[in-house]
Symmetry: D2
Subunit: 379 residues, 4 copies
């Protein structure tokens, strides 16, 4: 089959690779109808990870089941399914508690809990930017979707970014009547704003400096805050008349100020300032235990010297980490079908697999209008 393969920094290629096959009784094979390029794919693309050359990329996948192992009973050949990016065994202590993002059994990497498709350090699993994908523990991992082709664009976001955004709101304990500040108007930040409203938020502020993304934030009902126009915290405090109830971090360790300098502690500092005492912050932007390319010695070791004293004196809570997609994707699917959730609003491009190669370059340069790319291998 054909697949997008990592070939070294800033290089991906469309290659012929062997078709995946059933390797264990609980495996299934999924023919990919849609697979997305994720912002976190760019970490690998840019060569800032240890991902091995030859790896098939792609952890945001959906498609049709073409084959199942003898242990698979619930999922049937022909089912249309969403594939959560987490590969979870379903039977370890973390999985049984609903923490599929920290499965104790699927990732053989020392010291890492949790596995994923086509991703650095997340286990030996190929990704789904390809025609077919092998899915371990298929009965547990796969989410069944309504047959047919309806909502394909919306459903494509169920494998990662929509549940991840919802998780950010869950970690931040966003509820009815809350005001929320979301830092970062990338796809996850935009959907965090969408999810905040789905959970009953009254006002949501989204901070970024890209005009196209801020415009999308408005389409999701949020109030755009352009940090290139001034201190975003001061802007929110003034517009809102005081601090907000909750905050979501959707930027990560590569935060830049308006002049383009990297400040890994910048967004956390702003969140600590803008959230009121007793509030909560959800962190879904990625922070790394090691970041050899960082500017300071501390940051190279994952140390982020943000304003912890103020965090404490305000009594703030903070939740972090990768989303357990299965905890949310069923309800989010139903909200899509009911017409109440419309995450697909942010999709900017739908391409075939070959076009995905140049899409990596456009997306990596954050070119205007390249918000979210969906690839259709079968097209």
């Amino acid at each position: 089959m054909q697949a997008i393969v990592y070939c070294g920094p800033f290089t991906v290629a469309l290659e012929d690779v062997p078709d995946p096959r059933i390797e264990a009784p609980n495996d299934a094979i999924v023919q990919i109808t849609t697979t997305n390029i994720c912002g976190s794919d760019l970490h690998m693309y840019e060569g800032r990870t240890s991902v091995e050359q030859g790896k098939v990329l792609g952890h945001e996948n959906m498609g049709l089941v073409t084959e199942v192992g003898p242990g698979v009973q619930r999922i049937k050949v022909g089912d249309r399914v969403s594939v959560p990016f987490n590969i979870a065994c379903g039977t370890c202590r973390n999985c049984e508690a609903g923490w599929t993002s920290f499965c104790l059994r699927t990732n053989p990497t020392e010291g890492m809990d949790g596995a994923a498709y086509g991703y650095a350090n997340m286990g030996p699993y190929d990704g789904g930017q390809a025609e077919y994908l092998r899915v371990p523990f298929a009965d547990f991992n796969l989410l069944e979707l309504p047959a047919g082709q309806e909502w394909e664009r919306e459903f494509a976001l169920l494998s990662d970014i929509f549940p991840t955004a919802f998780h950010g709101c869950e970690l931040a304990d966003v509820g009815p009547g809350h005001s929320v500040a979301v830092f970062g108007a990338g796809p996850v930040g935009l959907l965090a704003a969408h999810c905040a409203f789905l959970r009953g938020a009254d006002r949501v502020f989204v901070v970024d400096q890209e005009a196209d993304r801020l415009a999308l934030a408005e389409r999701f009902g949020a109030e755009p805050i352009d940090f290139s126009a001034g201190d975003p915290v001061e802007q929110i405090l003034e517009i809102h008349g005081g601090p907000v109830d909750r905050g979501v971090e959707a930027v990560g360790y590569q935060a830049h100020d308006a002049t383009g300098h990297e400040h890994p502690e910048l967004v956390l500092d702003n969140l600590v300032r803008v959230v009121r005492s007793t509030g909560a912050i959800g962190v879904i932007g990625v922070y790394m235990p090691e970041d050899p390319g960082a500017a300071t010695e501390g940051a190279k070791e994952g140390r982020i010297g943000f304003d912890y004293g103020t965090l404490f004196s305000k009594g703030l809570r903070m939740g972090t980490g990768q989303a357990p997609v299965k905890r949310y994707n069923r309800q989010l699917r139903d909200l899509i079908v009911a017409g109440r959730a419309t995450p697909g609003l942010l999709v900017s491009h739908e391409l075939d697999l070959a076009e995905g190669l140049t899409a990596y370059a456009h997306f990596d340069r954050r070119e205007d209008g390249w918000t979210k790319v969906l690839l259709h291998p079968a097209a």
Copy 2:
């Protein structure tokens, strides 16, 4: 009346000061039967705060109501009461949500939510290391105790450290069957171990290097970890056979390593290492937004460069801040009366008010056996 008054670094004095009086309709006056010296009083004693000279110290108070204002209906003259260290209005947004530690109305200090008796930056309220204390919003703040003198030693801990320790466990989400690591075997850390067991923990590890405190930890049923004997995280991992479910930080920004050097990020780093993925950490050890005496530029601004990358990659949650005493003191009182809670086990000294002066010096030098000092002004 007589009161212990702050007179400058390392100097407290017993002085005659005016008796407190009813200043507002909802005030009450409490004759102090027991008032404690708290570890946080030492920050002021050492001159590391901006507390004004002449301030009566003491925020851990209990006694008998001698007078009430015309708006006080629930509490009666003669009632035996515990006085939570938080001074809360009972009607602001934070108080109505149970966050009395972040009352929006009682502290006029700019940017500070929450007030306390006899404390730097926590409002213009005298403390209770004195014969009498004025209590604002008495119906709301005071907890009624059984009449008489029984359990005085236990009840004396209801105004601060026992609820604070419980709050640490609440922030860490400690529940039945959890293993817990508590860093710091001061009074709050010891009671955090006690509270963890009250909440159903199966094993609790307490980390310190003082032999007398580690011995007390054992009396509370915990397993002592002496960090002067080796890396405490390695010790716990080995004894427990892996990481623990929950962690409690009861040390604060003045953390020292075994050689006596201050490392404000040390305890947080250890907690991030020792708590398993998906776990939670409660931080009740104090961190300050500003600490002019700190060793590094960052720490002077309250910046603590701990291993945030690993926190994120393990999906840890963290809660922080001062305890809302009222949320817990009623149930803890009942557990004392039922004989199921015995926090008084850690009380080392019961003295009169005049003896309190030298007690400050002994306690500040952390002399062996000076774990917790109770003062009885009426004695």
Copy 3:
């Protein structure tokens, strides 16, 4: 001043009564700008309660503060406020836990926790269908509103039915992606549907037989189920393709079947049938410990012989009782101001106080189009 007074079964009168005055230091006087007739006022109007003649009715009140006692600090003369129907002391055990609907101090009636204005068995408090109202514990009970007259129609519903409806969803644990069945399309049932959507429900079914109310349900985005057209449970199961996640009871003990016969267990039976195993049911429709007018001996003693065996075998949870308005009214106010909540959609009439007398009769006969009546005493 003028006030609507209960004079016996089916008789209310506009009478001159003494102006209320400050009776305790924490009282305030509110000039009523809007006061509503509630469905539960009809229990008294119909003579089915023990309410005393001469009582001023009206527990859904809002207005302007004209006077405050010396203990009142937070609320100021001139403030525009919503008055929760619960009269709560703010300092008892239940109030401190946020259960203002079960205040232990404000209702002297033996065996009853919780007080209200102008209501049978809820304490000696006159209601607000009058020009002025005395509000005890004003700093605690009153919710401040934006000055002016904007959103008056929406804010008028903050004193009872909007928070009550939200409480029904809270008791039923309604969350994002849930399907919900609401029984009863009276004002509370309609707002329960509205609240379910505010909390993220994907589909809401509202069961009633009145065409005007079912039409309003549709305006709130819900799917109307007319039980006069067939078994409502079968209808929902068919439309939804199976049972729903959550149920809300907004009818109460006077449930009637399509032929007009009273069956107090009917709605609970239907909820047990229509909610899926592991689901939850919130009961805000009123059930009475004693109902002398009931058809069966059991029902006279408050016994409701619903299908408990199936409740158990499905593992359902059920929460009941009057709403603690303060827990929700602040957030609901903010959602109104942000334009995200529009409860006023169901208001059918805005009248002056004198017109309220005939409104009782129209509303009691449930005449077509008389959904919700607001009275403006100052008009």
Copy 4:
């Protein structure tokens, strides 16, 4: 192999039956080391269910894994395991939410969610009162235990009654400092008292009339209430000085008064009376949708006419249903190993399989001292 088989009302026999075998890739075979007789086995023994003759009884099982199917990866041959009584698929909507007691896939019986071993209406699964047991979805269902024979008596209670008792406390929301009334001092009621203390309860009252059971309640630290000596609610109100915070129902629909008459609504009525307003009740005593042997028409249809009006007026919450054992058994196991939980205190008999036959008769007659019977097939 040999097994205890149901042969008709009041008749069980030790029969030779075929050894169970791996039937599906995710099955395992467990050699039973301990299997208990449960109070609910007596419903079948007495002929009050539709259980088929020839069924092997026994749903409280533990033992050693002797064989696994090709899909089983986590559990290994030789593992010592506890077998939860719920048979759960691990991949349906209810299982993924942790509700293994309401698995949607393992029970083919129309309208029933949830399956069990050797039980009426709970699917076509033989029980474990036998030498071997087939366990479906073994990786998901089995709980690993420390190798060896230590704690066998304690661990034997992990398959059902200890987690069921804990679930009762969870449904009743029992927490630190709560007072609790448990109705029924059978094995589940006694362990509910034990679990209430593990969760931090300050006082627990256990209501029964059997002296041996009340004596056991005291050994677990609870206060025995003998309902043959007078109204148990009045007794508790007097001893406790008022109503309790939480209630647990561990009796079920066959409740008898002190004179031996059956009153299915009796215990619920008492709970509604004894729990304070805003409290919660957990119901783990079994209620049946159909009970042909009941005394009244209503009760035959599962209708329990308890005092619902008072439940509502007190704002009580109620949770019901079979326990999802997996949600609790891991933590309870750890509490046993740590020596903090000692459920085995109530075991009265340990017998071999053949002796189990007469044990049914003794236990069914509730003979003095026959509290809990463990059978050791391998002995």
